[in-house]
Amino acid sequence: MKTKVNRAAGRLRRDPMSFPQKEFDLIKEGTISLVIVTILIIAVAALWGAPYRPAVTNQSIAQQNPVLMEQSALNDLDGTSTMASYGPPYNNGWNGSAQSIQSLGGFAPQTWWGTPYAVNTAKDDVITPLSMLAKAGDNSALSTALATYQSASPAQQQKWDNNLNNALAKATVQNGLPVVPAGNYGPVALMMQDELMMAQSGLLSGALTRETNNGVYRWNVQNNLLFLQGTALHQIAGQINMKGEQWGINHDEQAYPGPWWLTPYTFLYQIPPYNTIAAGDEAAAYSVGILFVLLILLPWIPGLNRLPRVLPLYKLIWRDWYKRDRSNKKVDKTTLTKKGLA
């Protein structure tokens, strides 16, 4: 018995319909499969639920770690936070310098789009929210502090910022507020204390997302997410092994499976040069992109497209067929249709 073979253009094209056939019920098989996985999934969902850890709020950070909250705000004000000098798509760095643009040999796609999601951390995260607070509370002391700070020279501003930054590193906490030694902090000490108290009250999140969607439908939470993205979130993520160097996104809460299918991507973050170079994210993204293109084009890649033929696993998958073929057994005629039998 020979199957129908098409050798057009020197390529093997065998018609599956010309092989011996057996009975098959597509709809029944599909239905049985659907019923089995539905029952299993509902059972597992009912038994184990799904992972969920509430999001971290500015309010909770401000209440649990007031020093960290003031440091986060101060670094946004003085331009030393990551976001202050991030570069595109948020800004062009702090005062046009100190950008952290990812670039591989001058290839920096991060810069292609300009700064469509503009962020000025000092203005967006500190000055404007505090101005709103001062106006809402008719707080003349805060209004004066803001005016003093904004009219001071950059050198003076930096001096106050640095002094308070150094003091906060040694601060103690009393009644939920950092206590620092007396020093030359200018208006910054009051500004940071009010920012902290606004966060403790729960109002800071709303103030950070005030401008998105014209202030009503706040689907874009960019600035709120970015405010905590530095030390605050890293500390919490580190405690539950979710930082990049801890295989981050690859695993979920405790015993729950995470998005394990990202393993090849996450793996790159564990090895050099990806975990050592500044453009590690860009390098990882393009490496995975290239691997994915290779996967798509596998049928045309010489060597790789013949690999399964060299590996013996196909013999295991089709063992029944080869056994039947070798012994030239007559297959039970009741399971075969006449079609395809020579």
Partner: protein, 204 residues
């Protein structure tokens, strides 16, 4: 040329009912590996159904309601099942060299489905609304920005991420999977490699 006639002629020639809804299949289709494809489809169906129910109640429901949490759990586990079976299907088809004999494009569609599935699931993780979303959202921004995708996608804009997750990406995924399925049914399941010593094409 009449386009309608041409499409009808091509469809009626290549997509016959015998191929679309077969009641028989080649005897070489005899392995557990073949069930991974249908299990992948089954789990995808549950992903879509649970997703539709969740989308109809909005993105807060599954964070504050017990019933919502149950459907979120179904969604979560069906996604896990989907990726498990899809990965097994991919690995199995690789070892079978299933792109052979005119099936390269079927492989391409399957691989694309896998890639789109990964991105769809990722936007889902960012739509969970918990610390996992929050943390991975701020982390992922560096990857998306570094790759140069920032101009299209603001990964910190939940409205955009949620829209991509519930409409745009699933639509692309369903179209790709549907096309992949049509290709599989049109061309049939790839025959086994000819045995060694056997002339290529002289398959007994």
């Amino acid at each position: 040329m009449n386009w309608t006639t041409a499409v009808r002629k091509r469809a009626s020639e290549q997509l016959t009912w015998d191929k679309l809804l077969p009641s028989e299949q080649p005897v070489y289709v005899s392995s557990l590996v073949y069930s991974f494809g249908v299990f992948t489809l089954s789990t995808l169906l549950i992903v879509i159904m649970s997703g539709i129910i969740m989308a109809s109640k909005g993105p807060l429901w599954y964070q504050v309601s017990g019933v919502g949490e149950f459907f979120r759990s179904i969604h979560f586990w069906s996604v896990q099942g989907f990726f498990f079976f899809m990965t097994m299907h991919l690995v199995g088809q690789f070892f079978m060299g299933s792109w052979r004999e005119g099936r390269s494009f079927t492989w391409v569609l399957g691989a694309l489905s896998f890639g789109v599935g990964v991105v769809t699931a990722f936007t889902g993780y960012l739509s969970r609304g918990d610390f996992f979303s929050q943390w991975n959202q701020v982390q992922a921004k560096d990857a998306f920005n570094g790759a140069g995708l920032d101009g299209f996608l603001n990964i910190l804009n939940n409205g955009q991420v949620y829209g991509l997750h519930i409409v745009v990406l699933p639509t692309i995924l369903i179209l790709l999977v549907g096309w992949h399925l049509l290709q599989v049914r049109r061309l049939g399941v790839v025959p086994p490699y000819p045995e060694k010593g056997e002339q290529e094409g002289e398959v007994r």
